[in-house]
């Protein structure tokens, strides 16, 4: 047979045949490749559980094997680089930024140490590090109860299930250090079997019960805020529910507003501590984020916490919730701009304008409160009686509660600017009422001048002013972190290694 090139020379159609034949072969091979790729991608797109674990599994990384996208985004809560004008994801020493806080909280743990917290994945580290939990070593007890773990970890629902709710709260903080080791994560908000949102903390359910509401009737959209409301709310430790147990309770029986909760606390004559200078029976507002948010316009329009703090994402045609819980200011495009079509700068400006205006008045109230405490101390020193002081002390209690309600609500000045402004203005009125009574009393005692404002221009000066030795606390903490905490970790990982986790591919 002649070589094919000579054949083509004689019959050009043969060349064309080869050309078109090749086209067809390549085209069909392409279709075959498509079919193969389709089969392969089916596996990648469908939800493919890798492992099976128990309903109370506290380790986030175990859940993460089945839900990689959610877990990867959750891991980003360890990022500390974002700083907004007033907050962000980095640790901020708030006592350094604003030393007046030291005086406002004199005699209470917060005057030792108060940091703007980091992301969810630091919950355990940060509660171990804070001076407020103390350095419980060698038989020494922490000044805080186990109730302080209640919001820190998915180990909490696990433990409550094992030992009971009241039993969990009982005892001082260090006694459960080896039990609570995983930071806030999956099982705090999700049911392990259905992945539905769930309420894992009894305090919220009990508060709803007392208000005559059934939390199991909440819609999915409401749940997208209620899971946050398990922790981002005002609470106190109720010692009257069970003997010797600081039982975590939300003071919502009369309503969510500053006045409602104030009434509630006044009725039961509760106080968090007695102020070191003024001896007023003080209230510490924790973080009424959910309560203040509910009075704002976004809540009124049905926007949930997760809509802005955990916006939806689409990757490769798959929709999921961004579990990098963070300030929407670090993610304006995915949160605000879904509904608001303005430029990012403009939207940030809207937030900062509200915060700036509110912090102006909050600062003023803070200064008035420092004056209240200092003037009340002087009145005591000049021999004022309990009876003369009682009304004044109630004014100080109420004014500082309202300041704290606004300050501790963190995002409150954006979530609900009108309500927060209102609360601060009532705080200013109450503080000034108290100071009028104080100046009358001081005059009666023969003191007519202005009571000098203390030099509290730095955290150190303020702490020295209230007579607090932080250096010792810090060095004890250092020893505690290096000697006690590693033991907790060891004990925990030994316990966790026995948890049932089964690969689905063996």
């Amino acid at each position: 047979m002649k070589p094919i090139s000579t054949q083509i020379k004689r019959k050009p159609w043969l060349g064309w045949m080869i050309f078109f034949g090749t086209i067809v072969v390549v085209f069909v091979l392409g279709l075959l490749a498509s079919s193969i790729l389709e089969r392969r991608s089916e596996a990648a797109f469908a939800f493919t559980p890798q492992i099976q674990y128990s309903g109370l599994e506290p380790r986030n990384e175990i859940w993460g094997k089945n839900f990689p996208m959610q877990y990867q985004s959750y891991k980003k809560t360890s990022d500390t680089l974002f700083q907004s004008k007033y907050n962000g994801s980095a640790t901020i020493d708030m006592l350094e930024v604003d030393p007046r806080l030291v005086v406002l909280w004199a005699g209470y743990g917060f005057s030792k140490d108060y940091n703007q917290g980091r992301g969810h994945s630091y919950a355990i580290t940060d509660v171990r590090n804070t001076l407020r939990t103390g350095a419980p070593m060698e038989g020494e007890k922490s000044p805080m109860p186990n109730t302080c773990w209640a919001c820190k970890s998915p180990d909490v629902p696990r433990l409550m299930n094992e030992v009971g709710v009241a039993e969990f709260y009982k005892g001082s903080w260090e006694t459960k250090g080896h039990e609570v080791v995983n930071s806030i994560g999956c099982s705090d908000c999700h049911d392990a079997n259905t992945m539905e949102l769930r309420i894992s903390r009894p305090a919220l359910v009990e508060a709803f019960d007392r208000m005559g509401k059934d939390i199991t009737k909440a819609s999915h959209q409401e749940m997208r805020s209620l899971v946050c409301a398990q922790c981002h709310v005002e609470y106190y430790f109720n010692k009257n529910i069970e003997e010797g147990v600081p039982y975590l309770t939300f003071p919502w029986d009369n309503g969510f507003s500053a006045e409602n909760m104030e009434d509630y606390y006044d009725q039961i004559e509760f106080s968090d501590w007695t102020h070191k200078l003024s001896k007023a029976p003080m209230l510490k507002a924790q973080h009424p984020g959910y309560e203040t948010y509910m009075t704002g316009v976004h809540a009124a329009r049905g926007v949930s916490c997760a809509d802005c703090h955990m916006p939806f994402m689409s990757e490769g045609g798959q929709k999921y919730t961004d579990h990098h819980v963070q300030s929407p200011l670090n993610n304006v495009a995915n949160s605000c701009q879904v509904c608001h079509r303005q430029e990012t700068e403009r939207l940030m400006q809207d937030v900062y304008e509200r915060q700036d205006r509110i912090i102006g008045n909050r600062d003023k109230l803070e200064e008035l409160l420092v004056r209240c405490h200092v003037e009340a101390k002087l009145a005591w020193d000049l021999g004022a009686s309990d009876e003369q002081m009682s009304e004044i002390l109630m004014d100080i209690r109420h004014a500082q509660w309202r300041w704290d309600y606004a300050a501790a609500s963190h995002g409150g000045s954006f979530h609900s600017p009108v309500e927060i402004s209102r609360v601060i203005s009532t705080g200013i009125v109450t503080a000034q009422e108290g100071r009028i009574k104080l100046s009358r009393l001081l005059m009666k005692k023969g003191y007519t001048g202005e009571v000098p404002y203390p030099d509290i221009s730095s955290k150190e000066k303020a702490q020295a002013f209230i007579g607090l030795d932080v250096k010792t606390l810090q060095s004890e903490k250092e020893v505690f972190l290096h000697s006690v905490v590693p033991g907790w970790e060891e004990k925990a990982s030994a316990r966790e290694s026995g948890y049932p986790v089964r690969s689905l591919f063996d």
């Binding site: 085209f27 279709l31 079919s35 879904v338």
Partner: protein
């Protein structure tokens, strides 16, 4: 022409491999044309825009709007002053979209670009010009020029036609025409038999 092809033609010894290689290239080109549904871009069919799944919210919202009855995607989003400009703009915008989609560079919230805004506004006027030249309105709207012709229509008609929630995750469960399998039925049948 004949002389040129004579010069370009490979020496006789190479002719067979060259024919095969150019056959492979042409085959791949047709395959790409088919798999990317490139032919569909010449049409005005809205499901063409669903070749990229991230357009699902735009398709779904349009499909639930009254504009569905009268206007397709191209009626609003490409210029209609002349046929050359129409296809020039379509090619330019389409290639940009295809590039972004292929590089997985799409933002979670898509905003229209300045040039696109002008095109849409012109197209609003193309159909709704009557609303701007109503003599009754002109007589009593003193700020006519500013209010009626300087602002884009959607400053007020914000829901038209795509609604106000704007994110590529906003309609995850909408029923939209997704690209079917490119594998022809006969091949599937054949593969099944083999198993």
């Amino acid at each position: 022409m004949i002389r040129l092809s004579g010069k370009l033609a490979p020496p006789p010894r190479w002719r067979v491999p060259v024919v095969i290689i150019s056959g492979i290239l042409a085959g791949l080109f047709f395959y790409l044309f088919y798999i990317s549904r490139a032919y569909s871009y010449l049409s005005d069919d809205p499901s063409t825009c669903m070749n990229c799944h991230i357009m699902a919210p735009q398709y779904a919202t349009w499909n639930h709007s009254s504009h569905r009855e009268w206007a397709n995607c191209n009626d609003c989003h490409v210029p209609h002053n002349n046929v050359f400009n129409k296809y020039y703009f379509k090619a330019k915008d389409g290639l940009r979209h295809a590039t972004i989609f292929t590089l997985r560079n799409e933002p979670q919230v898509i905003f229209i670009k300045e040039e696109g805004k002008h095109v849409v506004q012109d197209n609003c006027l193309r159909c709704h010009a009557d609303l701007l030249t109503d003599h009754k309105v002109m007589s009593y709207t003193t700020s006519y020029q500013h209010v009626r012709s300087e602002r884009p229509c959607w400053d007020c008609h914000r829901e038209t036609p795509h609604g106000r929630v704007n994110s590529i995750s906003s309609v995850p469960y909408a029923r939209v025409p997704v690209n079917g399998s490119p594998v022809p039925r006969w091949l599937k049948r054949l593969m099944k038999k083999e198993k």
